[in-house]
């Protein structure tokens, strides 16, 4: 437990000192959303129809941006050896790193999303479904992304490779997240879709660290 919290604290402290990543991710998120009105025209009706999709796709791409740094700096300077030799199993360390990643990437996306909903004229009644959906889906994105990040350690073009690996795996949260927003505006409500998102995250919690841990061991070998 001491080791688990120590690793999260360490990563958060690094993020605070270095500052770069949160700004990069948020900046990309905002810019990606703002590009759409320029691309397809600013009519509110059109934007409102695709608002949920725009925000979710932008959130996905922003999350992918910061993934290649998840393990890379530790891998490069020998810190990963020490994490592998820690008192906690490597899988728990992956969970700690994913948690820190979510706190510095996913959570800011969730916080900023209501503001961005204004830019794409999302129906305010759908806002809770959007925020809760992102809250439930972004941890799954951090966890699944950790698998891809671990697999591409030491590869020749890790950033591009990572994107290719992770995007098919991100389709389920994307589909359920946008469906939740649209369903919340209709009679059926968003509950079923939000539960599916929660189920994805619950499933990823034990399974993703297993796969990522195995991938890290391959990278260290």
């Amino acid at each position: 437990m001491h080791a688990f919290l120590g690793l999260i604290r360490h990563d958060l402290r690094l993020a605070a000192r270095q500052g770069g990543d949160i700004g990069l991710v948020l900046g990309f998120f905002i810019l990606a959303v703002i590009l759409y009105p320029f691309g397809i025209g600013p009519e509110p009706e059109l934007l409102r129809r695709i608002a949920a999709g725009i925000i979710w796709v932008a959130a996905l791409l922003a999350a992918v941006l910061s993934l290649d740094r998840l393990f890379a700096s530790d891998y490069g300077d020998g810190g990963l050896d020490l994490i592998a030799l820690s008192a906690m199993p490597l899988e728990l360390a992956v969970l700690a790193k994913s948690a820190a990643h979510w706190l510095t990437t996913g959570l800011p996306l969730v916080v900023v999303s209501p503001v961005l909903a204004l830019f794409v004229d999302l129906d305010p009644a759908a806002l809770p479904a959007l925020v809760v959906g992102l809250l439930l889906g972004t941890p799954a994105m951090s966890l699944i992304g950790a698998i891809a990040a671990a697999l591409s350690l030491g590869a020749r073009r890790p950033g591009v490779l990572l994107t290719l690996l992770v995007l098919p795996l991100y389709l389920p949260p994307l589909i359920f997240g946008t469906a939740a927003v649209e369903a919340s505006l209709s009679a059926e409500g968003a509950r079923a879709h939000l539960l599916l998102l929660a189920a994805l995250t619950m499933a990823a919690l034990p399974l993703a660290p297993l796969a990522a841990g195995a991938a890290l061991r391959q990278a260290l070998d």
Partner: protein, 220 residues
């Protein structure tokens, strides 16, 4: 007086190591008793770093096994990890953090409740830079910091890969003193090095004795 359990002997049986498609060494036997020192020598590419990583369980051997306290390491990997310190080529130092914070993190990773951080910094002459960001430290100072974690939390078995690289004379002297004190306390040390270390009574392990002949390299 020994700080560490009597039976903390490390034994390597018939170890083989594969890097990529290359068999680096095989049939290697080694023994590290409490209070003992093993100096691993060999030309570049003979697998000195690989052997140390193997002893640290960072590498899985292609054949053979490690025994600790008479039992295979594979049976209690967490317990074994708690008994070793590994200092590799790379220092693992983050430029944005201070030495004090790095030692705090490394000892937290080991689950050490009361780390001796100030003692460790003093032992390696880093008290003056303890609260500077590590990007201001020289290569030698970062090396000292990496070695300082040997003191910050105790462990009986030390696995050191080229520990005196980048160290000046004062640093090497401190390292020798620390190793001597560790051995006197019953701990053991395995060192891979090119440079002669002032260690008496060390066993030598020459890795080119265990290089694989070319025929075995073709094994798919």
């Amino acid at each position: 007086m020994s700080l560490f359990p009597e039976t903390a002997e490390l034994v390597g049986e018939n170890l083989a190591c594969r890097r990529g498609e290359r068999l680096v060494f095989r049939g290697l036997e080694c023994r590290l008793p409490p209070g003992g020192t093993l100096v691993v020598t060999g030309p570049n590419g003979s697998g000195k770093s690989s052997l140390l990583r193997l002893l640290a369980t960072l590498l899985v051997p292609a054949a053979g096994r490690l025994l600790w306290n008479g039992a295979p390491v594979a049976r209690d990997p967490a317990g074994y990890r708690g008994a070793i310190h590994y200092v590799g080529h790379l220092d693992g130092v983050k430029p944005a953090l201070t030495p004090r914070e790095m030692l705090g993190f490394w000892t937290a990773l080991r689950g050490a409740e009361h780390p001796a951080i100030d003692a460790a910094l003093a032992m390696f002459g880093l008290e003056g830079v303890a609260d500077w960001p590590c990007r201001w430290l020289s290569a030698g100072q970062r090396r000292r910091l990496a070695l300082a974690r040997l003191i910050a939390a105790p462990a009986p078995i030390w696995l050191l890969d080229e520990p005196s690289a980048a160290l000046d004379g004062d640093g090497e002297a401190r390292l020798a003193a620390v190793i001597a004190a560790h051995r006197d306390a019953g701990g053991s040390v395995a060192v891979a090095t090119h440079q002669p270390l002032a260690i008496t009574g060390a066993m030598s392990l020459a890795l080119d004795d265990f290089a694989a002949p070319a025929a075995e390299l073709l094994a798919v």
